[in-house]
Amino acid sequence: MTRELGFQDVAAAIERALPGAVVQSSANLVLVDSDKMAAVAKFLREAPGMEFDFLTSVSAVDYLDYFEVVYHLLSIKNNESTVIKTRAYSRDYPAVPSVVNVWQGADFQEREIFDLMGVIFTGHPNLKRIMLWEGFEGHPLRKDYIVVTPS
């Protein structure tokens, strides 16, 4: 059974290594400062006791006030998992550092989020639309996107 690491433990470990990185932590949330996300990712991948070598999934949720990017992480070696969240508060330029250099698997997922949600992953080597075509206006998965149905 995959053991879900206690969120508070993870938060404490991150805080120990990178002070000021964790914005908020509770029993079911580890919220990381979006500016420090790349460093946190590197730490989570390499630090002993963590070794999250597998990025299961990157998701983004639009809460209208902010965008939340959710990283589901997995350590195949220790069979442990955890969830890290980070937030981008701007609606025009919601930027979160890319983790492609840490986990290559984020490549297409981040592109998809950029395409559909409009979150910009700074440092992504090839951030462009993936599902929709170049020149598409807007980001459909945002809650304020107005769907124009063809009549």
Partner: protein
């Protein structure tokens, strides 16, 4: 001094016999050698995640059918497992057995198509493909018996399955389980030692365990690279912790290993089905839940080992009848991350074969 040849860019797809749907690869060739490759997605994009935000939890089941349409039951399973995790309920025992049987049947059906198309890409002119579709047809018959549909099942429900198995199902399933091992033997005899197949696949597109993990690959592609990671073993859901089966692991991570891993998974799935048939309890198959489910506020990530890899649903609920956000972690989509790294430097013919060996489904890639 090599001859300076101007590279050619070829668009393979979206209409190409070997892209398994509408996939496109912009490939830069130097002669027959691939210099660069860029996958292009979106030809089948239907906006499932957006659609799900406007549907009730029960209605979304019909959307999940259309992800990996070759293994709809697995998608159903992944979705209902996630919603159950969000709700904090568990399906009745018998329902879990039924779900496992259906999911494993789906794994067999999906692998049959994956292998058949892979061999078709190798140029085996539809013969193994035809043999494998013949067996898949029997699985579809079984599914029709259970839920009346052959491709888009919409069979599972949050908190169980929509209906108990019909009485004649067990007999038919047993008959299939008795017959299918001979068919697997036949596939092995037809292909496993075939010198052409071996020379085409052995040592081609070797994917190291490190690369595979780094690229977030999952499913048979990951296991063929030698990573012992199968959610049925490492994070057992439903009743997999009670079942005795093995996870086939590849040694080198080349195309031949991916082929062999799938072939062996057929046998293991059959083994699981046989155990489920033996141990199947009698009882309820569906929890009494309200017709319109309103999960509590919060989020949950549920995942299962679908035939193509880890299929996960990340659901954010705001307490209403529809999810606030539903994110699908589609294995086919993420498995394609490594396509470029696997194929650059090989030849055109290898590209087709490697793409076939990843075994993606466009319904799931584009969602």
């Amino acid at each position: 001094m090599p001859i300076k040849t101007s590279p050619i860019i070829v668009n393979i797809g979206p209409h190409h016999p070997s892209t398994h749907g509408v996939f496109r690869m912009r490939v830069m060739f130097d002669g027959e050698n691939i210099i660069d490759l860029e996958p292009v997605f979106g030809y089948l994009h239907r906006g499932t995640e957006k659609l799900a935000e406007e549907r009730t939890y029960a209605q979304i089941i019909t959307l999940t059918d259309r992800l990996d349409y070759l293994a709809s039951m697995s998608n159903n399973l992944a979705y209902v497992v996630s919603v159950e995790k969000l709700l904090g309920v568990k399906a009745p025992e018998r329902a879990m057995y039924i779900r496992v049987i259906m999911a494993e049947l789906m794994r067999i059906a999906s692998h049959l198509i994956g292998l058949g198309s892979f061999l078709n890409d190798l140029g085996a002119l539809a013969t193994p493909w035809m043999y494998m579709f013949r067996e898949r047809e029997k699985i579809l018959d079984l599914c029709e018996m259970v839920c009346g549909a052959r491709i888009t099942y919409s069979y599972m429900r949050v908190g169980g399955v929509s209906m108990d198995l019909p009485p004649e199902f067990m007999g038919a399933l047993r008959q299939f389980c008795d017959d299918f091992p001979h068919r697997i033997d036949e596939y092995e005899k037809l292909l496993r030692e075939n010198e052409i197949l071996i020379s085409r696949t052995k040592g081609v597109a070797v994917l190291s365990a490190e690369t595979a993990k780094n690229n977030s690959l999952s499913g048979p592609v990951l296991r063929a690279s030698g990573v012992n990671w199968d959610l049925r073993k490492s994070d057992p859901y439903e009743i997999y912790d009670r079942l005795d089966f093995e996870v086939p692991i590849g040694q080198t991570g080349d195309t031949y290993d991916r082929f062999l891993v799938r072939l062996e998974e057929l046998r293991q799935s059959l083994k699981i089905i046989n155990q489920c048939v033996k141990d199947m309890p009698i009882g309820e198959t569906r929890l009494k839940l309200p017709a319109l489910i309103r999960p509590p506020k919060g989020d949950a990530y549920g995942h299962v080992e679908a035939p193509k890899g880890e299929l996960g649903f990340y659901i954010v609920s705001d307490g209403t009848i529809a999810p606030y956000r539903l994110k699908i972690r589609a294995p086919s989509f993420i498995n394609l991350t490594a396509l470029r790294e696997m194929t650059v430097g090989y030849k055109l013919a290898d590209l087709i074969v490697v793409f076939g060996s990843i075994d993606v489904n466009m319904g799931e890639v584009d969602r």
